[in-house]
Every structure is written in structure tokens, then in C-alpha cells.
């Protein structure tokens, strides 16, 4: 994680080699394929989904999936209490369930990295002040506070995305600061400063290349957390609101029929699980690929990075 390099040509060649390696690593390949599938589902939802996700058909209420008695190939994964097609809702749900992590992680990543750069490069009082705030935020009761804020402000796509990014920007700030501090002490950075390179040049040319790989890995990992949080908040009724669809929201709707129509919760939940698993596999592989020491452990996947997080 703290391997310091100057981002040279040899590293670029190494990253091309890494791309080849992903094909040979079955778990990472599985993660990438799953994600590719879900992302294309989100992008081309109207083309892929067999039916309109909001089209009600009261004559076809609570139909079971194709494999069960009474199921049909017309509704592969069955229908909900309003006769809406479960498979089509999952395909369309991918749009919001994958956009939220994209937006939240981008917001949090940009802001957190900027704050971390400032703290790490300035050092001194600015650093102490910023890190005190970051430490305080790490002690906040995460999901509960998010629930409270959403209950008061009112849940919507944007409030949800912003609240979720407020919960994770500190993770990026802390990591960026640590990376900047260790990179600053590297000999080539000191050498660059000695020959009179400007701070901006040192920052962009010599320090920034060390940040990209770990920060990207972190972003991938955090998007798994955001998907789980969005799902949990939508399940609790404080996330995505109808008529928009999200996997967590669909599980919440299906909850009332848990005894009579369990497929209403099983399939949307499975979509969440598969998405998060795919991301975790990819994040684990990215970390291992970026750090030769980790390669020995290979399978040791992502999830041990402490985060402001759970749920």
C-alpha cells in the first residue's frame, strides 16, 4: 500500500501485465464479469428488461418464478403485489443502485483527496486541525446519524448521495495524507526539492503518481460499502423513494409478503449481494496486484480496511 515509486515507464508496462493477470485469476475475473453484466444491465435497462418495471397488471399479481408451480416464462422471476415484473424491476434497479455509489464515491473521493493533500503537504497546524476533524468524524455513529439526517431533510436521490459521501470522505482524506507523508520522505522527492522544483511540480510529477493506485482501490472498496448502505437505507424507507426503483427498496416492498411470496425479497437481495461480492473481489485483486507483498496472500481480499462503516 505504501510502496513508493515515481510512476515510470516500467510501471506502465507492469500495469499492462496486470491486465493479463486478471484473466488468469478466476476470482478477479468472476468479479469483473459480474460487474460488467450489472453495468450493462444499468446502461441498457430498457433494451434488456422484458417489461416496463412500473407497469401494473392486477390480473397477474404475485406470480411465482418460472421454476415454481404456477410460474411462467413470461415473468421469469415472478411478479409483485401489483403484478409488476420482478426481473424488469431488478434490471432497472441496477441504474440507481449503481449510480448512487458512483456519485457518492466521486464526491467523497474528490473532496477527501483534496483535504488529504492539503493536510499532508502543508503539515503543521493545518494538518493537526484537519486531522482532528477527520478523527472526530470517524467517531460519529454512522448509519444512525445518516438515518436522522435523511428523516429530517427528506430522502431523495441527491440527499442520499450527499449523506453517503459525507460518511466516507474522511477515509480518502486519511489515506491521501498518509501517502503524501510517506512519499514526501522519499529520496527522489527530496532531490527534486533540492534542485529547485516548485511545490506544484513536485506534487503533480512526483507525489501524485503514488496516490492513484491505492486511491482507486479504495474507491472501488468504498463503492461496495455505499451500495450496502444505500440498500439498507432504502430498505428502512429513508433512501430511494417510489416510483424510482432500487434493489433495497424492492426488498422493503417484498417484506410484507415474506411468507407468501419470498421471491420478492430473494432476487433483489441477490442482486445486491452479487454486486457487492463482485466489487469486493475486484478490490481485493487490485490491492494484491498493486502490492507484491500481498501477492503471497493472494486470496486475502479487500474487506479488512477499517472504515467509518457498517450496515
Amino acid at each position: 500500500m505504501n510502496s513508493v515509486s515515481s510512476g515510470s515507464r516500467s510501471e506502465r508496462r507492469a500495469s499492462a501485465g496486470r491486465l493479463m493477470r486478471i484473466v488468469r485469476d478466476p476470482t478477479a475475473l468472476f468479479g469483473v464479469l459480474v460487474l460488467a453484466l450489472l453495468v450493462s444491465a444499468a446502461l441498457f435497462a430498457p433494451l434488456i428488461a422484458p417489461l416496463d418495471p412500473n407497469k401494473q397488471d392486477l390480473a397477474a399479481r404475485l406470480l411465482p418464478p418460472f421454476y415454481a408451480e404456477g410460474g411462467s416464462s413470461q415473468h421469469l422471476l415472478g411478479t409483485d403485489q401489483l403484478g409488476r415484473d420482478v426481473l424488469s424491476r431488478i434490471v432497472h434497479g441496477a441504474r440507481i443502485s449503481l449510480t448512487i455509489p458512483l456519485v457518492s464515491v466521486t464526491l467523497a473521493g474528490v473532496f477527501g483527496t483534496a483535504v488529504g493533500l492539503l493536510a499532508g503537504y502543508r503539515g503543521g497546524k493545518a494538518d493537526a486541525f484537519i486531522m482532528r476533524i477527520v478523527d472526530t468524524l470517524f467517531s460519529f455513529p454512522g448509519l444512525l446519524l445518516a438515518l436522522t439526517i435523511l428523516a429530517v431533510v427528506g430522502p431523495s436521490f441527491w440527499t442520499l448521495a450527499i449523506v453517503l459521501s459525507l460518511r466516507i470522505w474522511m477515509v480518502f482524506a486519511r489515506m491521501t495524507r498518509g501517502l503524501v507523508l510517506s512519499a514526501r520522505e522519499a529520496e527522489y522527492v527530496e532531490a527534486a526539492a533540492l534542485v529547485g522544483a516548485s511545490p506544484v511540480r513536485i506534487m503533480l510529477r512526483h507525489i501524485a503518481p503514488n496516490l492513484t493506485a491505492p486511491l482507486l482501490t479504495l474507491a472501488v472498496l468504498e463503492s461496495a460499502h455505499v451500495i450496502l448502505s444505500e440498500a439498507a437505507l432504502s430498505f428502512l424507507g429513508l433512501g430511494i423513494q417510489p416510483p424510482q426503483t432500487s434493489w433495497g427498496l424492492d426488498v422493503a416492498i417484498g417484506r410484507q409478503y415474506v411468507f407468501s411470496a419470498p421471491w420478492l425479497i430473494i432476487f433483489p437481495g441477490l442482486a445486491i449481494a452479487v454486486a457487492v461480492l463482485g466489487i469486493n473481489l475486484l478490490a481485493g485483486w487490485l490491492r494484491v496486484a498493486a502490492d507484491p507483498q500481498e501477492s503471497a496472500k493472494r486470496f486475502a481480499a479487500a474487506a479488512d480496511a477499517p472504515s467509518a462503516w457498517s450496515g
Binding site: 472526530t136 430498505f235 445486491i272
Partner: protein, 309 residues
């Protein structure tokens, strides 16, 4: 040690106060608490009455000052839903949460450490692969979903456990297991990782050279080093379980703790009761942080009290 604890305690108080200031700013400045609390058909007079009752007609800084001072005195105001002090409601609902969190956390840490140690002993073997897969599933499956799937499978299908509510130990099993599953996953992965590091460390190799038995090496030499990483993560996990997992799991199983209470309060627009839950959870979170820091410092002689800030 005394000075260190005092410093940590004052920081903890600051954290709790800043949590309450954030809650205050969000509820009073961004949101409209009166509009949230009142029914849709409320008149202007109802509104003015409630504002006066809550002291919302006074200057905002005076309100903030009173809010913080009252919170420090453990007075969060009366719950609108239950019409009695919100703190009483929270303290009444706290024991079920503590029981659930203790059971779920203990299950998660114990199983996680066992899986982590066993799989770390032979990385790459089939036990290891199974354990890593299990760990990954633990951190990837949404808790509320696992909770519902368990109800479908174990309660409805097999009839082994009640679907929800509280009572005997049979009510505790499913929620505690669901609450502990992500903990099992993360603790197992972390313990495994540091176990592999420790078993490759020089002091462990030296011990092997001296002829110390394999069991002793794993249980004494490697565990000592791996334990520090595990304790740090365990602290994080406990906080996550309290401030996140408990709300979700209690809601799924209608477990009468503070998380379920918070959701009921949100449904009934009882902001004051929600604030009281946030307050109590914030206090527990900072307390856990202090305990973890102290445990960490005691276990690892390289960390000096004055160096930890």
C-alpha cells in the same frame, strides 16, 4: 496513564457535543422540525403552540446553547410519541440492544478468530479457500436481506425459531447471528492476514528452530502479534454493530431495542426521541473507542501513551 485517560475523556466529550451540534444544525437549520412533527392538517395556532413549547421561537444561538447544556445534563426533552422524557424511553429500551449486540459481537469475534487462525495456518489449502469465501460472503451480503432469508428458511420453512419479537433465547439466535455475520467475515480476513505475517516473522521462525511445538507457536507466538490487529478491527466492528447493524437487524426482527425505537420514532416524526437515541449511541461509541485505545496501548509495548493522540 491518568493524564492520558483524562485527555481521551475530554476528547470524547467533545466528540459527543459535536455530534449533537450536527444533529441540531440539521434539524433546526436545514430541516423544519415543527413541519416534520405536526400532522398535515395542523393550523397556524398548532404550529405556534408547538414552537413555543419546544422553545423554537427564541434566537437560534440561545437554542443551541440550551440544547447542548441540556444534553450534557442528559435532558433531551419529552418524547412527542410517548409523552415522557425521551431519555427514559431510551434507557428502558437499552438492555435488549445490549443483549443483542453482546451476543452478535461475541459470535462474530469468536467464529471470526477461529476461522482466521485455522485458515492462516495453511494459506492456499482448501480450508483456507473455503474460509476466505465465507469471509467474503459475510462482508458482501446485505444484513437486512440475510435476516429476511433466515426468517423464510429457518422460521417459516423449518420452524426452528420465531420470526420476530423477543422473549427466550430462541428469539435471540437469528438476530444475533445476522448481526454477527459481517463481523465474522472481517475478523476472519484480518486475523488470517496477520496470522500469515506472524508465522513468517523472524521471532516465530526462531521459536520453530528452538523446537517449540506447532500448537504453541500458533496459539502463543503468532496469536500475540495477530491479536493486536484483531483487537483494533474488533473495536471498529463493535461500533459498526452498535451504530448501524443493530438498527437494521432490530427493525427486521422487531427486536425491542433502541435501534427499533429509533425507526419507530422516525415513523412517528418524533425527532426528540431520535435525538436521544443518537446521543446515547454517540456516548457508547466514544466509550468503546477509549477502551480499544487503552487495550491497544497495553498490548503493544511499542505504543506509548503520550504518542497516541
Amino acid at each position: 496513564m491518568g493524564r492520558y485517560l483524562l485527555k481521551r475523556l475530554s476528547q470524547a466529550v467533545l466528540v459527543v457535543i459535536s455530534v449533537m451540534v450536527v444533529v441540531f444544525v440539521v434539524t433546526r437549520l436545514i430541516g423544519d422540525p415543527v413541519a416534520v412533527m405536526l400532522p398535515l392538517e395542523a393550523t397556524e395556532e398548532n404550529r405556534a403552540l408547538l414552537e413555543a413549547q419546544l422553545g423554537l421561537d427564541r434566537p437560534i444561538l440561545a437554542q443551541l446553547g440550551d440544547f447542548v447544556v441540556d444534553a450534557v445534563r442528559f435532558d433531551l426533552g419529552d418524547s412527542l410519541w410517548q409523552r415522557r422524557p425521551a431519555m427514559d424511553v431510551v434507557l428502558e429500551r437499552l438492555p435488549p440492544t445490549l443483549v443483542l449486540v453482546a451476543a452478535g459481537f461475541a459470535f462474530g469475534v469468536l467464529l471470526g478468530v477461529v476461522i482466521g487462525v485455522v485458515s492462516g495456518m495453511r494459506p492456499g489449502g482448501w480450508v483456507d479457500r473455503a474460509a476466505v469465501t465465507l469471509g467474503l460472503l459475510g462482508v458482501s451480503l446485505p444484513q437486512f436481506w440475510i435476516g429476511l432469508v433466515f426468517i423464510v428458511f429457518f422460521s417459516v420453512g423449518l420452524g426452528w425459531f420465531p420470526t420476530s419479537g423477543s422473549g427466550g433465547i430462541e428469539h435471540l439466535v437469528l438476530p444475533a447471528v445476522v448481526l454477527g455475520l459481517p463481523v465474522v467475515g472481517r475478523i476472519a480476513l484480518v486475523t488470517r492476514s496477520s496470522m500469515i505475517d506472524e508465522l513468517n516473522a523472524q521471532h516465530v521462525k526462531d521459536a520453530t528452530g528452538r523446537g517449540v511445538s506447532r500448537t504453541r507457536i500458533v496459539l502463543v507466538h503468532a496469536m500475540k502479534g495477530a491479536g493486536i490487529a484483531t483487537i483494533t478491527i474488533a473495536g471498529w466492528e463493535l461500533i459498526g454493530v452498535l451504530a448501524g447493524g443493530a438498527v437494521v437487524v432490530e427493525t427486521v426482527y422487531a427486536w425491542p431495542g433502541i435501534g427499533f425505537t429509533a425507526m419507530q420514532a422516525i415513523e412517528r416524526h418524533d425527532i426528540i426521541l431520535v435525538q436521544a437515541v443518537v446521543f446515547v449511541v454517540a456516548i457508547m461509541v466514544v466509550t468503546i473507542n477509549i477502551i480499544v485505545d487503552v487495550a491497544y496501548t497495553m498490548l503493544d509495548p511499542r505504543v506509548k501513551f503520550d504518542r497516541v493522540s
